[in-house]
Structure formats: C-alpha cells, structure tokens
C-alpha cells in the first residue's frame, strides 16, 4: 500500500515536471491552488477575451508571459493582422489599466510593402501615440537583439515583433530564446508574421488572422446604419493551441468599448446590387493539374524557413 502511494507521488511529481516544461498550469497544483490561493491572484496573468468559447479554447485566456504568434496569409491581409495585434494591446490596456509604453519592432520589407503603422489609426485602438516606440532595425539579427532587450528591460507592457515570411535566421532556437526571456520577464511578445507559413516554434499560441467584412455602424437606437462600415472584424483561426482541431472565430473589435464581440454573419450589403454572375473570379486552370494531396496525417510541421 505504502509502495503504491510512493509510486503515485512519483507520478505526480513527474507530471508536474512535464507540465512545467510545457508551460501549462500544474495539474496537481491546480486543485490546491483553487483551495488555498483562491484569494491571491495566480502568478501567471492571462488576457481573457470575455467570450466563453474562445476563453475555453485558450484555457482561460492568452497568457501574457510568452510569445503569441499572429500570422497572416499574405501581405494584403497585413492590415487585419496589424489591427488584431494592436487590438490585443488595446485590450490589455483596457483590462489591466496597465499604463506604459509599447514597442513596435518594424520589419523593413513589410513597412515598404504595406506602410508604416500610423499613429492616427492606432490612437483609435486605444493606444496613445505617445506610448508607442517604433524601432526600425536594419537586419533581422538587430531586430532579435531589440526584442530580447525589450523583454529583458521590462519597460514595455507589450512588444510587437513584425517579420515577414519564414526567415531562416529566426528558427526554433531563436523563438525558444525569446520565449524564455518573455517568461522570465513576464511580458508578452506578439510575433506578427506577415505572409508566413505555419512553422514549429515556441509560441504558446498561434492565431491565423484574415479580414472579414465589417458590420454596419450601430445607431443609438440599436438599429444598424445601412451601407456603413463599422468596427473592424477579424476571422481568427486558433492554429496552435491545446485543442486538437483548429477553431475559428469571427471577432469584432469594438473601438469604443475596447472589447471583442462575436460577430454575427453580415447581412447582404445594400450598397451595390451586383449581377448574379459577374464572371469567374479565378481563371480556369491550364497547363497542368493541381499538385497531389499529401498522404497521411500532419503530425508536426516541418521547418518552413
């Protein structure tokens, strides 16, 4: 009997160790925490979206001491990805009432392709333009140094690290390094990857962002103003998380309340009446067939860089 108990204890210890390595909350400790430390706020901060389904999928919210990757499929979605990462910072500011500056580490190519972050627009997201520091490093190595230094200094409430594609110089080792720094400093790093592939990394969550048609503007009496363009709406796909299958959400970022809402499906736009068949939007495939589908299940992603 005593033997079994000792084995049990060993098992718990191992489980805890694994949980600690994976960055999850400790299973054995979780219950104890509920009882003993209910009054005390737990050590790890989480950013809750106040949307039950999404928070459950994130097991309570986005942890604020690690890397969260925000990925867009192409440069033309850079606006949505930029908007979503900034709205996360805006949400942090609204939630925690955290005062402090944020750092934007820009990527030169993305800047020349899709423009610089514009303070006038960012201000509408609830982030004062005086609190934004904009770094424009020349090389990726410099950008990594900046990100690491920013996390280490603990001076910024959030750091947005913009890259494009899957650069070779930013692989698993570098992301692991940044993740450890973030963990040690207890500050979030939002990795904003434009036009990138999925790639194995140390980010605890990876969100794929696509733009979605905005809802209409709400009038004071609750009705919608037809044909107007309201708050930004994002299609979020939870690509990397503890969930077995990717989950998709359509979120509206309310600029006034600084809060996310689940967006309803937009009704038919009343601005234009397009003909039923406006022609094929894609050309007929020519020359050769589509490439064959890969066999088997995807177990782990290969390095895309």
């Amino acid at each position: 009997m005593a033997h079994a108990a000792a084995a049990q204890e060993k098992l718990f210890a191992l489980r805890e160790q694994i949980a600690r390595l994976e960055g999850r909350s400790l299973p054995a400790m979780a219950a104890a925490k509920m009882e003993n430390f209910a009054a005390r706020s737990s050590g790890e901060e989480k950013l809750s979206f106040d949307i039950a389904a999404l928070d459950d999928a994130l097991s309570g919210g986005l942890p604020l001491d690690c890397i969260t990757e925000i990925r867009s499929g192409s440069f033309s979605d850079a606006g949505a990805a930029t908007g979503f990462s900034l709205s996360l910072v805006g949400l942090m500011k609204a939630r925690k009432a955290a005062a402090g500056p944020m750092l934007w580490i820009a990527d030169g190519f993305s800047t020349s392709e899709m423009g610089i972050p514009y303070a006038g627009g960012i201000r509408q997201f609830g982030i004062g333009s005086r609190t934004i520091f904009h770094a424009s490093p020349r090389r990726l190595e410099d950008a990594l140094w900046l990100a690491e230094g920013a996390l280490e200094s603990k001076a910024f409430i959030a750091t947005i690290f913009e890259i494009h594609g899957n650069p070779k110089a930013f692989g698993l080792a570098e992301s692991r390094r940044l993740s450890l720094r973030a963990k040690a400093a207890g500050r979030p790093l939002f990795l904003l990857r434009h036009a990138g592939e999925e790639e194995a990394s140390s980010a605890s969550f990876r969100l794929f962002v696509e733009p979605a048609p905005a809802l209409e503007r709400r009038l004071p009496d609750g009705s919608m103003l037809g044909g107007s363009i309201g708050h930004p709406v994002f299609n979020i796909t939870l690509e990397k998380s503890r969930n077995p299958a990717p989950l998709s959400f359509r979120l509206e970022w309310n600029l006034h309340d600084r809060q996310f809402h689940l967006a309803r499906d937009p009704g038919k736009s009343s601005f234009h009446k397009w003909p039923a068949h406006s022609g094929a939007s894609l050309s007929v495939s020519a020359d050769r067939q589509d490439c064959p589908k890969a066999l088997g299940d995807v177990v782990a992603f290969e390095r895309a860089s």
């Binding site: 908007g83 303070a119 627009g121 424009s136 603990k154 736009s269």
Partner: protein, 472 residues
C-alpha cells in the same frame, strides 16, 4: 611646376621652396619629385593635431604645416614649459617627424620663432628682442608688402620696431602694424580650436597600454567615477559623452554616445560605451594598445535628484531610459523613434517620427486632448507615399469607385464611406495643388482601404486615384 616642399638633403644642396622644377632638375638631374597631395597632407596634419589633444584640448591649425597649442594652465602637468616642449618634440621626432616648436605668450611670436628662429621658450621680457632678430617674412604679411619692405632695406623686424608707427601705417597699411602688435601681445589674437572644448573631461595616462574591450570599459568606468564629483558639483548629469582613445602609435579614436536622460552613474556610462564598442567592433583596431584615455562630457543637463527606493530597483522609468540608451548607442538615434503629432490635416504630415532619445517621456500616458486631432477614421498602416490605382466606374462627380486595381490585383468595392475632403496646404504645396477626397473602401473579402481622388472631374487633366493606407 614649382617645388612646394624639400627634404634636408635638398636643403643642403641649396634648393629652395618655390623654385621652378625645370631649374631644379637642371641643377640636379637625379632628384626625386612627387606630386603634391594636399588632401593627404591635410589629413596627416589633422592626425597630428588629434594626437596633440593629449596635451591640451585647444589645438588649432596654423596654415598648411603648423599647429597652435594653447597650453594656458596645462604646462605644469608636464613638468613646466621647457619640459613640455621637449616632450612634444621628442615624441613627434620618434614618430618620424622633423618638428620645430616654441612657446611664447602670443601665437604670432610662437609661429614666427618656430619657422624662422631657433625655437625654444621665449620669456615675456625677451619677446621684443626675439622678434626683432627675425626677418620680416616672419610677420605673416602678404608677399607684396614683404617685397616692398625688402626693397627699402628693411630686412629685420627690429628695423620696423624702431620706426614711428604713423608713417609705417600710411605706407604699408594697417595690417602690418596689427601683425606686429599681435606678435608682441599688445593686440589680442585668438586661435580657433578645431573642436569645441568639452565642459567636463577627465583622463587617464596608462603605464601599460590596454587592448581588450573589458579593459577599456573598466577604465571608462573608472574615469567616469572621477567625473562624477564634478558633475555633482554642477548639479548636472551628462547627456552626450565622448571617449577619446589614444593608441600607442599616435592614432586617435573618438567614440561618442548619447543618453536619453542625464547620467552620472559610472556603470551606466560605461554601459553606453559597451554597446557602442560592440557596434563599431571592427573599426576599432586596438593595435598595440591604448596608452591614454579621455572621457569628455560634451553636453550636460540638469540632473533630477531623486531618492532611490530601498529595493534598489529603479523602476520602469529607468529601465526604459536604459533601453533607449542602449539601442541608440548600438544602432544610432534614428533606430528607435516615437511619434509626434503635428498641426496638419495632411495625413503624412500629421504624424512624424522623432528619435526617442531626444524626447524621453516624463509622463507617458498624458491625455491627448488636442483640438486639432481629426475625428474621422484614420488607417492603421499608411503607405510611404500614396500609390496610384486604376479606379473604374467611379460615380461622377464625387462618388467612390466600384472597382479598383492596385498592384495588379482587382478589388471589387462592396461598401464605401466618404468622401472626407482634405484641402492642400497652399503655404507648403503651391497654390495649384489639388484637394484630396478620401474614401474608405471595403473589398469583397473584407479588406478595408483608404483611397483618395486627387483633383476633380471636369478639370483638365482628369483626376487620378491613389491608395494611401489600409485599415484593419
């Protein structure tokens, strides 16, 4: 072609400066002649002047081949004027330069004695005698005056000194008397130092040259700690520092680093230079080591005396300042920037970047109740410059397009908001600049663009469409 400089052998063979090359070749067919390289000569003179910084911060150039050193108040550091002059000349001689020098109360006399006399230290009471013995060339007069003096048989300065001043001035102009007075000290002559004098500086002369980065930083911290007291006395902290490294072979390196807020702490000062040294690692060739280090405070500012908390941690303010300093020292001030709002309605003029090191926020989250902030929606990303788009089926005269092509991609507009008219600023642009009508256009996939029409329909040339940014 003429000879501009000659070496000792040529001098002994009675060649002269200014002699024609053909004549010299006729006298001595075996002479070696090189083209004059004024830039290289000047660079060498500058390098020697840099080296001379070890004696005094006030070093000025004297023509093409001379240097003035203002050693007021420094000579005792080197064992008196005599010893100092010998030290300068001996060290330069060891480097392979044949140098003559003299110390006197005026720059004019020193220059004259060095070039035309025997050099050495001239005491104040011997000034007139020393100057009198020199030829009139020594007075730095123009050639015409010298020629006419010589024609009159006035070969020595002593001849001039004994003459009445008024006729001299009438005959040869005021310049000659001014030169005489300057040489004798009755008329003040200022030299113009090459570099501004640092308000504060401290230095270390090392017996054993140092080479490694750690040694340099350690020494910097030590020098900084000796500066700390004088900074405290002024109630100031340094904002721009300069580290001057004198290499054993005479080369001088200057490394400057700025801080976002006044600094006193030796550790943080040497921390600034640690980033700088990392950044310029390859350019700093330690060679056989540095024998002399100087730390200058080029700019200082009022230092806020703050009671540090007991925990010993400075808090966010300090860490932010530290981060800004480190980044600016490593990548330059332009790397880390902050936004500044300008009173303009033109979007690209309304927000500009300024280096973060120039404006460290004291209250980061100040309310931004600025009356001129535009209330309309602004894009999240603004393109560097508006890019032309092809717009189709725009509603004339002031409607949005129904389709547009940007970067070879056709976007079909499903919804549009606008226009928001922004008039040109005629005081910057010209009077004929066209106004812009901005629209927010949503494409069928939910992408939101900021597109404007430049000009009006019906005008000649017809209006063009540009895209200026994207929304979330």
């Amino acid at each position: 072609m003429r000879l501009v400089a000659i070496d000792e052998v040529a001098q002994r063979r009675s060649l002269k400066r200014g002699q024609g090359l053909a004549e010299a070749r006729a006298m001595y067919p075996d002479i070696d002649v090189f083209d004059e390289d004024e830039r290289a000569d000047f660079a060498l003179l500058e390098a020697i002047a840099d080296w001379c910084d070890r004696y005094t911060p006030l070093v000025a150039l004297d023509g093409k081949d001379g240097l003035f050193l203002d050693i007021t108040g420094c000579s005792h550091l080197f064992g008196g004027e005599d010893a100092m002059l010998r030290d300068v000349l001996a060290r330069l001689f060891q480097m392979g330069f044949d140098v003559r020098g003299s110390i006197s109360s005026t720059p004019g006399l020193s220059s004259a004695i060095s070039r035309f006399g025997r050099g050495g230290v001239i005491a104040r009471e011997n000034m007139a005698a020393a100057l009198g013995a020199l030829p009139v060339h020594a007075l730095r007069l123009d050639e015409k005056t010298v020629a006419s003096l010589l024609k009159l048989g006035l070969k020595r300065v002593a001849n001039l000194l004994s003459m009445p001043r008024a006729p001299l001035a009438r005959r040869f102009g005021a310049q000659m008397l001014m030169r005489l007075d300057q040489a004798l000290g009755t008329n003040e002559e200022a030299i113009s130092p090459r570099r501004p004098v640092a308000p504060l500086s401290a230095e270390r002369r090392l017996g054993e040259p140092i080479q490694t980065q750690e040694d340099i930083l350690g020494m910097t911290a030590e020098i900084a700690s000796s500066l700390k007291l004088s900074l405290e006395n002024r109630g100031a902290g340094g904002k721009v520092f300069e580290l001057v490294l004198f290499r054993v072979d005479g080369r001088v390196f200057r490394i400057s680093a700025g801080a976002s807020r006044p600094l006193r702490d030796p550790k943080r000062i040497s921390g600034l230079f640690s980033e700088r040294l990392n950044a310029i690692h390859d350019d700093l060739d330690a060679g056989f080591g540095f024998e002399f280090l100087r730390l200058n405070v080029l700019q200082h500012d009022v230092f806020d005396e703050l009671q540090a908390d007991f925990s010993g941690e400075g808090g966010r303010e300090t860490s932010l300042a530290d981060f800004i300093d480190r980044v600016s020292a490593r990548f330059g001030a332009g790397c880390l920037q902050v936004y500044q709002h300008r009173q303009s309605h033109i979007p690209e003029r309304a927000e500009i970047f300024i280096p973060a090191i120039a404006v460290l926020e004291r209250q980061p989250e100040r309310s931004e109740a600025m009356p001129f902030l535009p209330q309309a929606d602004r894009p999240l990303r603004l393109l560097r410059s508006p890019e032309p788009v092809e717009a189709f089926a725009a509603l004339v005269p002031d409607g949005p397009p129904q389709q547009f092509r940007w970067r070879h991609v056709m976007h079909i507009v499903t919804r549009a908001e606008g226009p928001e008219r922004i008039a040109p600023e005629w005081w910057i642009d010209d009077e004929n600049a066209k106004e812009r009508d901005y629209f927010r256009l949503e494409s069928e996939f939910g992408r939101l663009f900021w597109v404007f029409r430049l000009g009006r329909y019906g005008d000649d040339p017809p209006p063009t469409w540009r895209i200026h940014g994207v929304f979330a």
